[in-house]
């Protein structure tokens, strides 16, 4: 068993294989120098100094030896030779496999603009990235975030907590344009604004400016320059599917897999951010980027490999922490014909339901765990709801879901 990629997905599937009784050799190959760890805190608790390296680790370092998982760090799988059933590593070694799991994840998209290689221009994906960002933030510093997605907003909130100024630069007319509805965009914009974050929307970034090799500002298409000490680029994460593509596996913005996380090659699985997977609830294929997805597919692959019954189908979900806000969302808003808001955004406790007729397709909940949990269940059960009752906060979510 070779697992290409030692992130959240790779680390989890390795541990699960042992938990499920897999006895063959397991080689877990990761490019980063450290054992599998959780990425979500990197832009949240960790960046604010509220979590240490030990608490990020998925398992203690002693774990891998204890359960006989061969952790091969600091190298990556550079090629798959399907006919020979071998993989090639970036240090020239070759490993044989009976089963291969591709868990190579995604990488932060870079911007092909002048100045992108200046010192102080960062992305945030790995612990090393987060370390570098944290070291540059503090009172008197100014962070410019390019891209108003979750990573950027979480980093802006964490920067404020560390005493730094933060400005978010977004190409679209609103932040979170790709991932959340307008009600949420407006809410988060106001929440961040009242905590000192400034926004530039409809802003096309043209170049990064620098002095002595260090970034000093972000030049916009209209000629203005947003001054900064650090620029964080958060404009999405394409899948690391090159080795799969080169090996002739079907890729469609991610490695195409079935509901067991298996590719068309019965001996190769792909899990986590790198996979393009079926979403049975929505009758389509999609690439999800979340911990919940990585874990679900790790369970699917480990079950298939060890001959266990497949795990129950999940409603995909994710979360984001910003300031004192707990933002949780479930489902994907496909085929939505209406959006219903339950609660008042002005109270910072509300939820947005994305509806297709009387069915909930997705829910976004701010400080509203009951709406999130009940919404997630209703999405999975495909149970029609009454819009009037759903909109009425005097009726509890327990009753709405009853």
């Amino acid at each position: 068993m070779v697992i290409a990629g030692a992130g959240h997905a790779g680390g989890t599937v390795a541990a699960l294989l042992r938990q499920y009784g897999f006895e063959g050799p397991v080689k877990l190959v990761g490019e980063e120098p450290i054992a599998p760890y959780q990425r979500p805190p990197l832009s949240k608790a960790w960046l604010k100094g509220e979590a240490d390296a030990d608490s990020l680790a998925l398992k203690p370092t002693s774990f891998y030896a204890e359960v006989n998982i061969d952790l091969i760090l600091g190298v990556r799988v550079s090629a798959i030779h399907r006919a020979e059933h071998t993989v090639e590593l970036s240090d020239g070694r070759t490993l044989p496999y009976a089963t291969l799991i591709i868990a190579t994840g995604a990488r932060a998209r870079s911007l092909p603009i002048p100045g992108a290689d200046l010192d102080g221009v960062l992305t945030l994906r790995s612990a090393a990235d987060a370390e570098s960002l944290k070291a540059r933030l503090g009172p008197g510093k100014r962070l410019a975030v390019i891209g108003g997605g979750y990573i950027g907003l979480e980093a802006a909130a964490s920067a404020r907590a560390l005493g730094a100024d933060a400005v978010v630069i977004e190409r679209e007319p609103r932040i979170l344009a790709r991932v959340a509805c307008a009600v949420l965009s407006d809410f988060f914009t106001e929440y961040h604004r009242s905590r000192g974050v400034t926004f530039e929307v409809n802003a096309q970034v043209e170049a990064l400016e620098g002095e002595g090799g260090h970034v000093t500002g972000v030049r916009l298409a209209d000629g203005r320059v947003v001054f900064c000490d650090v620029a964080l680029i958060g404009v999405g994460a394409p899948p690391n599917d090159e080795i799969a593509l080169a090996a002739g596996l079907e890729c469609a913005g991610g490695v195409v897999v079935d509901e067991h996380a298996r590719t068309a090659d019965p001996d190769i699985f792909a899990i986590g951010d790198v996979s393009h997977r079926p979403l049975a609830l929505y009758e389509r294929m999609f690439r999800l980027e979340s911990v919940a997805n990585a874990l679900e597919q790790a369970r699917q692959a480990a079950a298939a490999i060890t001959g266990r019954p497949p795990p129950p189908q999940e409603v995909t979900w994710n979360w984001s922490d910003q300031y004192d806000l707990k933002y949780q969302f479930a489902g994907v808003p496909f085929d939505v014909d209406d959006v219903l808001v339950r609660g008042d955004p002005a109270t910072a406790k509300f939820a947005v339901f994305h509806l297709k007729g009387d069915l909930i397709q997705a829910v976004e909940a701010v400080n509203a765990p009951a709406e999130f949990m009940a919404g997630r269940q209703l999405i999975g059960q495909r149970r029609p709801i009454s819009r009037a009752r759903l909109a009425d906060t005097a009726i509890s979510m327990k009753e709405v879901a009853a």
Binding site: Q38, S55, A57, K59, K398
Partner: protein
Amino acid sequence: MAKITYIEHNGAEHVIDVKSGLSVMEGAVKNNIPGIDADCGGACACATCHVYVDAAWQDKTGEKSAMEESMLDFAENVEPSSRLSCQIKVSDALDGLVVRMPESQH
């Protein structure tokens, strides 16, 4: 440090020394004890670290927050003794704690 007994739904017992400051969930996950998934890593965002706390320990494990209460409301097989183990901080006072796991976290 506290000795915590984790009992899987099938009855399998695991007795673990857990460092003070960690959560009861972390004590399980870091020691590869099956039955506590903790998908969100302890952010109180997923309700997949559900456990039952033995009656004798319910006072010592503290009160549930409103957040935890709401999450548990919609978890499977919830009982009055249900807790999210990521929300229970381990201290010397919890030496001897016993928690049981539900049939499934999903």
